[in-house]
Amino acid sequence: MSIDVRNLTFRYDRGTSLEKTSLEDVSLSIDKGEFVLIGGEIGSGKSTLVRHFNGLLKPFSGQVTVDGMAAHEKKVKARVGVLFQFPQQQLFGRTVFEDVAFGPRNFGYRGNELDLQVHSALELLGLGKEIYSVSPFRLSGGQMRLVAIAGVLASRLDYIVLDEPFSGLDAENKKILLSALRHLNSRGTSVIVVSHRMSDLLSVADRVFLLDQGNLVFGGTPAEYVKHAPSHLPEITCLMKELRRKGFDVRGDIFNIDDAFSEISRVLNTKEAVRR
């Protein structure tokens, strides 16, 4: 069970003077149950790539399959959910509950089961009962995003793709969303996050892909990424690498604050001991 992308090439505005290659011969595969991070700058093709996963875009050449089926087949829509960059624009329900229920209802859930799924998705994202009957348009920007995300989570899909889900979320909501995604992933859902802020997710992702100008320039584990990636390193990794260059004997493959802290403390303590 996997999403397989084989030699995918895609061009926008095909056949016009504006024709622009957006993806060039990209091949990769994402297994069911994986937590995958797709990084790269705006315009690198990451959003274009994931829009192929549920058939919103059709390959110009190459192919994209989901569990063996061509991604634009209708059946695939019940397996892959895509959440766009401005999810608040995907809201339309009269109440928060109605909005979140729309997805699962379309996939055939009814009655108690539907209620249960909507409740558990909202609860997972820390959204309390008091907002269920409120219009989603009355909520703050951060809450609107969480409600839109709840709609995708409640649909119980095999693969969920989130395009820049953290932009515009504060630290607290980011934590809530991250732990919700980890929870879903632990239940077997593949989570695919598109983000240019890679440092947030390196500690949780199984695998990382990096796109640059429509080309796949890296694919591997987070540890391999911080060792070999050509660009987009987290600031902490840059700091550790520069410390090494200055003869400060720390590991260079570190990407979160806690590891950096223990690594630097270790070296400082050794220095102290030597001095004594």
């Binding site: 700058e41 705006i42 315009g43 960059q85 401005f86 703050s140 920007g141 951060g142 809450q143 820049e164 932009s167 515009g168 979320l169 504060d170 630290a171 607290e172 909501n173 980011k174 240019h196 802020r197 440092s199 987009h232 987290p234 600031e235 902490i236 840059c238 700091l239 520069e242 410390l243 200055k246 003869g247 400060f248 604050i257 950096a260 802290f261 630097i264 403390s265 400082l268």
Partner: protein, 271 residues
């Protein structure tokens, strides 16, 4: 420094009575660079929308150059003095080309065509987007769009510009470019009010104001705010380097002290 914006005991309630802002006091001088940060829903956007009279006080007073926003006759002057750039540039475009879009503001001010042309040139140049003038704003990248939006506000030569989370949809490269532009605009004498929840962007500010639950909970230089306030309590994430330097100095390495940037921390560790 001349006082420019004076906010006293500002109250603001949503139509259903829930308070959005609760006795906020804030004074901003001409030429200052003030960053306002806080978690989602802390009231930072509501607060700045009072400064150019997009929202009006339920209580208290907001005045700009001595003109009170609660008097409707002052609104044209206030809005001419204070320009605003929003998070999502797509919702602000009116022109068919970037140039037309930038000209829209000065045209509305009723300026003569030669002056409009000059202002548009100057703004496009300051933003470094002169070569994009004949592009449709919709065909541009996120960072370029945001620059067109900023140029449009700049062309009206406001004394003060409010940037409301203008970088939150941008990648690191475009974010840095936009932030550098903001610094350039400030260096030319414009008062800058910059709303963000990314404190990395606050390092160059004169003042960092933290909002929580509709109140101002900290107002000092960025360095003093990091040293004397527990920002996690307010749902704000410290920049990684700042957090790391504070962890180290609290854990028995006091010499390291607070580092605002990677270079400061490098310097402290390898003098």
């Amino acid at each position: 420094m001349t006082l420019m914006i004076e906010i006293s005991n500002l109250l603001h309630s949503y139509p259903d009575g829930t308070p959005a802002l609760n006795s906020v006091n804030l004074h901003i001088g001409r030429g200052e660079f003030v960053v306002i940060a806080g978690r989602n829903g802390s009231g930072k956007s509501s607060l700045v929308r009072h400064i150019n009279a997009l929202l009006l006080p339920s209580g208290g007073c907001v005045s700009v150059n001595g003109l009170c926003t609660s008097q409707k006759k002052h609104h044209p002057d206030i809005r001419r003095t204070v320009g605003m750039v929003f998070q999502n540039p797509d919702s602000q475009f009116v022109g068919m080309t970037a140039e037309e879009d930038v000209a829209f503001g000065p045209e509305n001010l009723g300026l003569p065509p030669s002056e409009i042309r000059e202002l548009v040139e100057m703004s496009l140049e300051t933003l470094g987007i002169s070569e994009l003038r004949s592009h449709s704003p919709r065909s541009l990248s996120g960072g370029q769009k945001q620059k067109v939006a900023i140029a449009g506000v700049l062309a009206m030569e406001p004394e003060c510009i409010i940037f409301d989370e203008v970088t939150s949809m941008l990648d690191p490269f475009s974010r840095k470019e936009v932030l550098d532009t903001v610094k350039r605009i400030h260096a030319k004498g414009t008062t800058v009010i910059y709303v963000t929840h990314r404190l990395e962007e606050a390092m160059n500010a004169d003042r960092l104001v933290i909002m929580d639950s509709g109140r101002v909970v900290a107002d000092a230089s960025p360095r003093d705010v990091f040293l004397h306030h527990d920002l996690e309590k307010y749902g704000i994430e410290l920049p990684p380097v700042v957090a790391l330097s504070l962890m180290l100095s609290k854990a028995g390495f006091p010499d390291i002290g607070l580092a605002l940037t990677k270079d400061e921390l490098l310097e402290a560790l390898c003098p």
